[in-house]
Amino acid sequence: VRLAAVVVIPEKELPLIHASSFHALGASESLYSSRMPILGNDLLQSWSQLIRKLGMKSLWLTSAFRQGTASFSALAELAGRGFERLLMITLKSYAEMDLADLLRFHCEKRNSVTEAHDARGQLGVCLLDHLALAQMKEESESPEARNGHGQIPYSFSGYAKRILSTKERQELVADGLTGACAMRPVGTEVRENVWIGPNVSLADSARVVAPAYIGRGTVVRAGSTIGPFASVEHDCVVDCGTTVERSSVLPHTYLAPGLLIRNALVDGGYLEHLGLGIVADLEPAGLASKIKPLCKRAQMFHDSDSDTVFPAGNVEAWHVSGQITSNEWREVHL
């Protein structure tokens, strides 16, 4: 049976940040995106490692707007390329799943659609036979809807975390830092639960309180405190006296001196406060900003120490994936 691995990147509407700079977050609004790195890793990288363990040489990327799953027509188009079975993964969760076991279960139960579930419901991982696609065409159903029609779902009891919001992302960061899940921060563990990436510049008077992660190329200036439960991703600058605790700072972010970043996610000039549920623009106040990368291509995924999945030619495919429309497919070689 010819199997294709499909990764669906849920596209979401960008936060509506207008001239007013501040706004209350609606239920579906957040700075969170599935393409944000988590402790130097990213979700696609984690899933592609699991796909590679199946012996597969490539995966197919597509995106889905809002509904978070590939459209029927897009799947039918891929099946039309000669694939008889599709392993469809929606980038909305992190799960330490044995995909070979899922495949075995799918074959044993003779399901045409097998959806992986945990105690909280669907995990966004689904096996789909081309016969099911044909049936769906007749019944005009989505893969998820099919699952209720006498198919036996795959019960997963291992570590899984849905990541649909900044809060859930922060929970995964905490689990990664404390070893509660298999995701390890990219870098060296310099002391218990303190991870530092290569080329980090840490001032003598800066404090790192475990558990914490500082990504490669980041500069932490005098008197700053990183941690506990803090993650500063690659190529950031944390200026003098600033404290980052229970928070994440995304790549290429500059934080001005003397700030207190607590229970938040900062992406360039924007801060999402997890407690207050708002996105605030820090840039007009000169408190934070996006650092323009000198050479985007050279800096991203160009670290010889990290376990990078993508060869240089395919990194671009991942980074342009945001521009893939829901009926478009892009093949990425593993």
Binding site: S21, F22, L260, L271, H273, I278, A285, G286, L287
Partner: protein, 126 residues
């Protein structure tokens, strides 16, 4: 110290562009001149820029070491987040509204008066 010795001043934030500089000067003048405690009201503010932060710090500096207090009334979570990020909220109490500030302060002030009277009576008896 009297409960009614508090005055409420609107904060001239970035959105109020007309006569902004004048309003700022006026605020600082009032802070210098008044003997009352001050509630800075952010109810018309939706955003703060670097000049606002600078003004806030100057307001705090004006009252430090003097026999008066300043508190903030901010109903917007965004303003509260910004006050937290800049650590200003660790220097100045922040309330949800002017009403809440007055309510809390009315409770607090008589206690202070009682404490002062007790201290004075102890001093005299000694």
């Amino acid at each position: 110290v009297k409960a009614d010795a508090w005055i409420v001043l609107p904060f001239p934030c970035a959105l109020i562009s007309s006569g902004r500089r004048e309003r700022r000067k006026k605020l600082l003048r009032e802070l210098r001149a008044t003997g009352s405690h001050i509630i800075l009201d952010f109810s018309n503010c939706r955003t703060l820029d670097h000049e606002d932060i600078d003004l806030l710090l100057r307001c705090v500096a004006q009252v430090v070491g003097r026999d008066k207090q300043v508190v903030f009334a901010a109903d917007s979570n965004a303003i509260r987040a910004l006050l937290e990020v800049t650590r200003i909220s660790s220097l100045v109490p922040v309330f949800n509204s002017v009403e809440e500030a007055l309510e809390r302060l009315k409770i607090a002030v008589p206690n202070i008066v009682e404490e002062l009277q007790t201290c004075q009576s102890h001093a005299w008896s000694a």
